[in-house]
């Protein structure tokens, strides 16, 4: 499932890029995400906790970052295995920082979310809603962090 989002903010592109290219800070802004140990240059262990009312799923997995300094673009790829046999989740999120003059910056976010297992089967469209909401919160947190 592909989700496109983005925002424009009154901040210099360099500041925005400095934040978005720092894996640990990005992880802080993702709701429910927890960054673990660094596995290699680009990869960390990590966890994700999603709670929707009585329904709660915890994923354990890895997060990898691919930075493209020249394009000011970062691809975050998170892969997790749900605890208690709850299936898998994989998210690829590509963010690009585009300068509009010196003080205005646009960030585009393209995400692709693949959820398998019982949540995808029984979710009645829930994954779509939850993914969108998480992304919106992320954008909100990002905006706040840059303000």
């Amino acid at each position: 499932m592909k989700i496109q989002d983005g925002f424009t903010i009154d901040a210099p592109a360099a500041d925005v890029w400095a934040l978005l290219s720092d894996p640990e800070r990005v992880a802080d802004l993702l709701p429910g995400a927890k960054m673990g140990d660094r596995i290699d240059d680009n990869t960390y262990s990590g966890g994700m906790f999603v709670k929707v009312g009585p329904l709660a799923v915890a994923y354990d997995g890895t997060v990898s970052f691919q930075l493209d300094e020249s394009e000011r673009s970062v691809q975050v790829r998170a892969r997790g295995r749900g605890k208690r046999g709850m299936g898998t989740a994989e998210m690829t999120m590509t963010s690009q920082v585009i300068a509009h003059g010196d003080t205005r910056t646009e960030v585009t976010i393209d995400s692709d979310v693949v959820v398998t297992g019982i949540l995808a089967q029984m979710g009645r469209g829930m994954i779509q809603v939850v993914s969108k909401k998480m992304l919106q919160e992320f954008v909100g947190n990002l905006t706040k962090a840059l303000a």
Binding site: G53, L55, A56, R84, G85, L119, R124, G125, V129, K133
Partner: protein
């Protein structure tokens, strides 16, 4: 399918229940268990503790008092269906109860549980929105009343605190010349709604609509109150054009999620069609 491990508690009083909710790790309230137990069996939920309020005396009120119909936490759908009072004065509640799951589930499922679960696909929320119900949440500091309009705020998310129990629903007794109806479209009997529309209205002496409440099921991430649709009816003579306008306003208030039950467009149109039907049925019952 086998539920995960948990501890089970059956308090004998409301105070004891509230004490358990305050002291236990990761507690979950259960009344009829007809939504919770399937989730446990699918291991979609795994609370450490279940607090079964089913043995608490005094939570089974189903009666009209002080201008309200009071529905206690343990009143089952079947009790609602079998109530002469409900059939006579609150036919919209009977409509709703009759289309929830199946008769066997309804023997254990409770109305309060249906509301507290916060599922936008459940049927009672729309009806309670249409009826302008008040919810009594009892917590460690006593009872508070929550307006149904404020109760649902996200997918499966309600204002009910984790240390609170939804102990009662209070529905204002209908004005004279009132009528209500719940119309649900389902893929087959017992299914969650493709869409559902609850309409409760009252008529003025001149035949115009004096008041209207409209709630919608499974047409967004929360149950929806269609206020624009209510406004479109209120004060109007309920002719075809008015009904069509109100039904369209109800459709416009929806943000359905596309799934196996249909596309966004289909569901929005069903909001329109079902609302028009519910209005007509409510009008007929109001004697209009």
């Amino acid at each position: 399918m086998i539920p995960p491990q948990f501890d089970y508690h059956a308090p004998g009083s409301l105070d004891e229940a509230l004490g358990l909710l305050g002291s236990l790790d990761d507690p979950k309230v259960m009344s009829g268990g007809q939504s919770l137990l399937p989730m446990l069996k699918l291991r979609l939920a795994s609370p450490a503790n279940i607090v079964d309020i089913g043995r608490i005396p005094g939570l089974d009120t189903l009666a009209e008092e002080d201008g309200f119909l009071r529905i206690g936490a343990l009143v089952t759908e079947t009790q609602l269906e079998q109530s002469a009072l409900v059939a006579l004065a609150y036919p919209i509640l009977l409509d709703t109860a009759k289309v929830i799951a199946d008769p066997l589930v309804r023997n254990r499922a409770t109305i309060c549980g249906n509301i507290a679960h916060g599922d936008p696909a459940n049927d009672h929320p729309a009806t309670m929105l249409a009826l302008g119900a008040q919810l009594v949440a009892t917590g460690p500091d006593g009872a508070r009343t929550i307006d149904i309009d404020d109760f649902f705020f996200g997918l499966f998310m309600t204002l009910l605190g984790e240390d609170e129990i939804l102990t009662e629903i209070r529905i204002p007794a209908p004005a004279p010349a009132s009528g209500g109806a719940y119309v649900k479209l389902e893929r087959k009997v017992g299914d969650y709604a493709v869409a559902g529309s609850a309409v409760q209205l009252s008529l003025a002496r001149d035949g115009t609509v004096a008041s209207a409440g409209i709630g919608l099921t499974n047409l967004g991430i929360t149950p929806i109150r269609a206020t624009a649709a209510e406004d479109a009816l209120t004060g109007q003579a309920p002719g075809d054009d008015t009904i069509a306008a109100a039904a369209q306003a109800a459709a416009d208030a929806t943000e359905p999620i596309p799934d196996r039950r249909g596309s966004i467009e289909y569901k929005q149109n069903m909001a329109r069609v079902l609302t028009a039907r519910a209005i007509r049925k409510a009008l007929a019952r109001a004697g209009g």
